[in-house]
Symmetry: C2
């Protein structure tokens, strides 16, 4: 299952000095080679802005295509089933996972993405392509029915991966937080995608794209640096 | 219910330049006026260090008393039922809430704390005195059976509250994260306790102690500054 999947999983929606999704335009053109592809957009990670505003922003990021936000329909599952591609936007991951379960979208999106229709997710939308919610940076503002997510890849994504320990921040570093996860879940690898990094999945091959690289955490092993362009198919 | 409760809820276990729990020594003496009080300690928030090491650290913080960590017993609930006071330590809040439900400790601790035996919690251990897990800063490394927590006070505590937006950090500020919560949960007030701040609950009266103050978030209202020494009984 999933041998024909085509996925694009972005750490972030934008990098400093680029417009919405612009830093991934080359990879979006790879994912969606036909102009006018009908994309079902999932806006449910939005909390501090409206779904309508979110849709308008995303339309700009996919200007060669037709974006339809599922929030406009009584039956969002049917929009997923009819779509030619699926896009899941960032925001609060707990809100997103809550709503994906609530509307029955988790199974529908998973089935369609594994059957080979293009899937793109950024930030929270990339996080949910992993097996579980467990490596988000977000505040748990809602309780989802389950932490189970799409499971399109085997690794857990940590979006917005940050190396620095910001001054004045008394809490754990990002690395320490992820090590808490790998201690409790030694079987689950975690890939920390720096801002601008992304994963491209073409059937059985996954590649790290972008210029900023990633950091891999797995069980008791020392964290490992992954360079841009690396084949990371072992994390599928 | 809870009219006789005596609680001490700390943002953090230590501040810069003080030893473990030292910044709260005056309030701990208020909470535990009798020397040699038998304290049941809950170490289950620990992930990156052992429960034994955690117990040793906490024994030092309560040197006038007798600390017994519940992890040493087959039946941790009975330790809570026999204790003269309860202390819940910080670490990862998801791990703590998972284990409190798993071992049946949530109801036992709640019942005893509301019946009036002294309760002290710091960081994750203060967070769980609120009705729900929802305002932790921690990574969701495990899925708890429920987000429901002790509900000893009505407000949600956000421990380690931070005003700054650390340089190089592309994510949301703490205030923005909490506003996501208040948008989704307009009926739940959130008190962000800065490092060194703490709440002292003496029956029907709650006071903000420490020198660093707190920030209050509630529904659509503008966030509000709370000065050290303020009566915050309206959050009980």
């Amino acid at each position: 299952m999933g041998a024909s999947r085509r996925l694009l999983l972005l750490s972030t929606s934008r990098t400093s000095g680029t417009s919405y999704l612009e830093h991934a335009s080359e990879q979006i053109d790879w994912l969606l080679p036909e102009k006018g592809t009908r994309i079902a957009f999932v806006p449910f990670a939005a909390v501090r802005f409206s779904y309508d505003d979110y849709e308008a922003m995303v339309v700009g990021g996919f200007s060669d295509h037709e974006v339809v936000s599922v929030h406009r329909f009584d039956d969002p599952v049917s929009v997923i089933l009819d779509a030619e591609a699926i896009a899941v936007g960032g925001g609060n991951t707990f809100k997103l996972v809550h709503d994906l379960h609530h509307f029955g979208l988790m199974d529908a999106i998973r089935a369609r993405a594994l059957s080979g229709i293009p899937f793109v997710g950024w930030s929270a939308g990339a996080n949910v392509s992993s097996p579980r919610l467990c490596t988000t940076n977000d505040m748990p503002i809602m309780e989802p029915a389950s932490f189970k997510t799409l499971g399109l890849i085997r690794a857990q994504i940590n979006p917005h991966y940050l190396d620095a320990h910001p001054e004045g921040h008394m809490g754990e570093t990002r690395e320490e937080r992820i090590l808490e996860f790998t201690i409790m879940n030694p079987q689950s690898p975690v890939i920390g995608l720096r801002e601008g990094a992304m994963l491209k999945v073409d059937g059985p091959v996954m590649t790290l794209e972008g210029r900023t690289g990633a950091r891999l955490f797995h069980g008791e092993s020392d964290p490992q640096e992954i360079d841009p362009g690396s084949d990371v198919s072992f994390l599928l």
